[in-house]
């Protein structure tokens, strides 16, 4: 074989090996966490291992649309994961446990199914005893009907109830507020000389006095980021996904096309007084924490802190009561 032919062959073989080997080598050495719409698989991988006290460096990329990344019950800003781009995120964990990470962008109908877990091993420096959620200690049946038999004619005004409520026999404790529905408090006032409208106004003031403007603002923000896609910005159950959820649910009833669609149904309307005034904060806490169980409402217990859930419930009642601005 001529020398030129031999050198040419060597060059070609080396070139082909480089063209094949180099991309494979770098690809194998760059573990990426891929974000896809839940319908196409969600996070991959969706289980990540970490250790207490050791920084966890992660590289994310989106394979389709813009997603967001945040870890539940962790004080962090969500980070956007852009299609075709790589986003580096470093996390530090002080406590062992199983953390839930989730998508923070309304990426698709099953957006809320885009979740994964970070399993953090190691020893705890400050172990906190687990607390039982209020709805559990109250033994509430979250799925039992809870409609209020009586509802006000209009939106009760907290400011009108302020002057009435001070002399009324209402237990002012936070536990009483959280464990009773507005209707139950309204009923407890039936032996007072107040009219029905005044009693509802007093209830509105009682609800307002059990929250703060910070809590309402925090609840509003959490609601806008996490709930409004389905329940609507104004709470009327008409978020951008609402129609599609209903359609997917109805279609699945016709075709039995799979568990994912079968769980879809119309999001709850928080402006419906019959439903909302019959629900106690503890009941709402349970529904948010546990999720809707077969309704399409996700479980938020692994994502929101207890305080965040109380902030949310406080804000959700603002669709029923006119609070002081």
């Amino acid at each position: 074989m001529k020398r030129a032919e031999l050198i040419s062959r060597i060059l070609i073989v080396v070139g082909i090996l480089l063209a094949v080997g180099a991309p494979l080598f770098f690809w194998a050495r760059t573990p990426l966490i891929h974000a896809r719409m839940a319908e196409d698989g969600g996070w991959n991988p969706d289980v990540i291992q970490a250790e207490v006290g050791k920084p966890l460096h992660l590289k994310f990329t989106s394979d389709d649309v813009v997603h967001g990344f945040a870890v539940g019950q962790m004080d962090m800003q969500s980070v956007d994961i852009l299609p075709g781009k790589v986003t580096d995120i470093t996390l530090n964990f002080d406590e062992p446990g199983i953390y839930t990470f989730f998508c923070t962008r309304w990426c698709g109908l099953n957006h809320w199914r885009m979740r994964g877990t970070i399993e953090v091993s190691g020893s705890s420096s400050d172990p906190e005893p687990a607390t039982v959620p209020l709805y559990v200690s109250l033994k509430l049946d979250l799925d039992a009907p809870h409609d209020a038999p009586v509802v006000p004619n209009g939106k009760p005004l907290a400011i009108s109830g302020q002057s009435l409520e001070t002399n009324l026999p209402i237990d002012q404790s936070a536990e009483y507020y959280r464990s009773h529905s507005p209707y139950e408090v309204f009923e407890s006032l039936q032996n007072t000389p107040l009219t029905d409208g005044q009693r509802w106004n007093a209830v509105a003031y009682f609800w307002q006095s059990n929250t703060t403007s910070e809590s309402l603002a925090n609840g509003r923000q959490l609601y806008a980021q996490n709930c409004a896609a389905c329940h609507g910005e104004n709470g009327a159950g008409n978020g951008v996904f609402a129609d599609d959820l209903v359609q997917a649910g109805e279609a699945s009833m016709q075709s039995m096309s799979g568990a994912m669609n079968m769980m879809m149904q119309a999001p709850v309307d928080f402006t419906d007084p019959r439903r909302m005034l019959g629900a106690s904060p503890a009941l709402l806490q349970g529904k948010i924490l546990r999720g809707g169980m077969g309704t399409g409402m996700p479980m938020w217990g692994s994502i929101f802190t207890e305080q965040q859930i109380w902030d949310l419930t406080a804000y959700i009642y603002s669709f029923q009561f006119e609070y002081e601005k």
């Binding site: 030129a4 094949v20 299609p83």
Partner: protein, 443 residues
């Protein structure tokens, strides 16, 4: 304008005759091609950030349709890496012919396939799936790999470059439009070829291989099937091969009478029109139908696509030329007069491609720095934002391209009509209506 023989310039002649510059380009192209396959298969599935999509369907396509085909004809075929591995296997060498050839089947392609119908079909197969192919990296990777392996397979069964000549989905239209290019490879003196013994340009010799494109250079009258591989320059013992600069569309003066080539013109014209409407138009329903391969909407899209290409466009053309006074049979007249659609179709594709190339060219910078979507920033351009380019000149440039195409096709129609002894008016009207439609779709 007279022809200018470029091979008179020693530098050009030496560069073309030597195998080394070509081999260097081949190696670079093959590495790029294999990298594109890998990028498609393992890189980010986001098309706009994947090397395979950005470099094949934006960068390569832009160079091919806006520069290579209009100015260099089959210039791309001269450096295309797809047939190389197969050809090297077939030859048993990557440079000059060795003393011993490996024993492959080396069959002649059956006569019934020695036309461009298979290329028409392979092009249409890709065209019907183009919405997915052009946006999905792993599909692009699979198709690129399939073409490479098909070329290897055909090289081991058939003689010469059977894939390029009879199957390549791109080669068919490059050949058609290369007739308009201002460059050609031709013999200098026919008499020299007539008396040449052994015809080494076709049969090969110790100096080089017989024409890989199965063409006898002595009979070359148009660019369609000459792949500009320059093998005949190396094998011709009489220095009788020249590469010439010539007027645009010189080959169209002698219209073809082949139906496969005539239909290629309709296929290309029709697909440019369909793409302009479906891919660039405001109708989301059409886009969805084209993208949802396998759905009933896609089948309707495919049927409409094929009907436009094989029934509507040729049907209207036939109706137009039906009553032209001529002694030629209708079939021959159809093929001959459709020559006018070659420059028209080329300029349709130029106008259509300008739109998406200028819109998406900025993706090239990001893909260059991070070709696999692994977070690299090789040239500091990974975060270059998407930015449509030259938007202010897009519409005027497209209009100009279409008007040039219309004038060019009208002049070609006149020449073809004179050749066939008939009126060019129906063809000119046909081209005018098609141009108006394209103008409406693009603007």
């Amino acid at each position: 304008m007279a022809k200018i023989e470029l091979t008179r310039i020693p530098f050009i002649k030496n560069a073309l005759k030597s195998r080394y510059p070509q081999l260097a380009v081949f190696i670079v192209m093959l590495i790029g091609y294999i990298f594109a396959i890998l990028a498609g298969l393992i890189g980010t599935p986001v098309g706009s950030h994947n090397f395979s999509i950005v470099f094949v369907w934006i960068a390569w396509w832009a160079i091919l349709i806006l520069v290579a085909v209009p100015f260099f004809g089959r210039g791309w075929c001269a450096v295309c890496p797809i047939p190389l591995p197969g050809e090297w296997l077939q030859h048993g060498a990557v440079l000059s012919p060795p003393d011993k050839r490996p024993k492959w089947l080396n069959l002649r392609v059956p006569k019934m396939f020695r036309n461009i119908w298979l290329q028409n079909i392979s092009y249409l197969l890709l065209a019907l799936f183009s919405s997915v192919l052009l946006t999905t990296p792993n599909i692009t990777g699979i198709v690129l790999a399939a073409m490479l392996f098909a070329a290897i397979g055909l090289s081991t069964v058939f003689e010469r470059r059977a894939f390029c000549r009879y199957l390549c989905p791109v080669g068919g239209f490059i050949g058609l439009y290369s007739q308009t290019a201002p460059i050609e490879l031709r013999i200098k003196d026919k008499q020299v070829c007539v008396t040449c013994e052994g015809k080494p340009c076709y049969n090969g010799s110790s100096a080089g291989y017989g024409c890989p494109w199965d063409v006898f250079p002595g009979g070359l009258t148009k660019n369609t099937y000459c792949g500009l591989c320059m093998e005949c320059i190396r094998t011709c013992p009489h220095d009788n091969i020249a590469v010439n600069l010539r007027p645009f569309s010189a080959d169209l003066a002698k219209p073809s009478t082949r139906m496969d080539e005539a239909f290629k013109a309709f296929i290309m014209l029709g697909s440019a029109i369909v793409y302009a409407g479906v891919l660039l138009g405001p109708w989301g329903m059409f886009k969805d139908a084209a993208y949802n391969v396998g759905s009933s909407a896609w089948f309707i899209y495919a049927i409409v696509f094929l009907a436009i290409i094989f029934v509507v466009l040729p049907g209207l053309f036939t109706l137009g030329i039906l009553n032209t006074k001529n002694t030629l049979p209708l079939k021959q007249r159809f093929a001959s007069l459709s020559t006018a659609l070659i420059p028209l179709g080329l300029m349709f594709w130029v106008a259509f491609s300008l739109s998406f190339v200028l819109t998406n060219a900025s993706y090239i910078l990001a893909a260059l720095s991070d070709p696999l979507g692994l977070g690299w920033n090789l040239f500091g351009t990974a975060n270059a934002a998407w930015q449509p380019m030259l938007t202010s000149i897009l519409a005027p440039a497209q209009t100009l391209a279409l008007v040039v195409g219309l004038v060019w096709s009208a002049r070609t129609a006149q020449k073809s009509a004179n050749e066939a002894g008939t009126s060019s008016m129906p063809v000119v009207i046909y081209c005018f209506v098609a141009t108006s439609l394209m103008l409406w779709l693009l603007l």
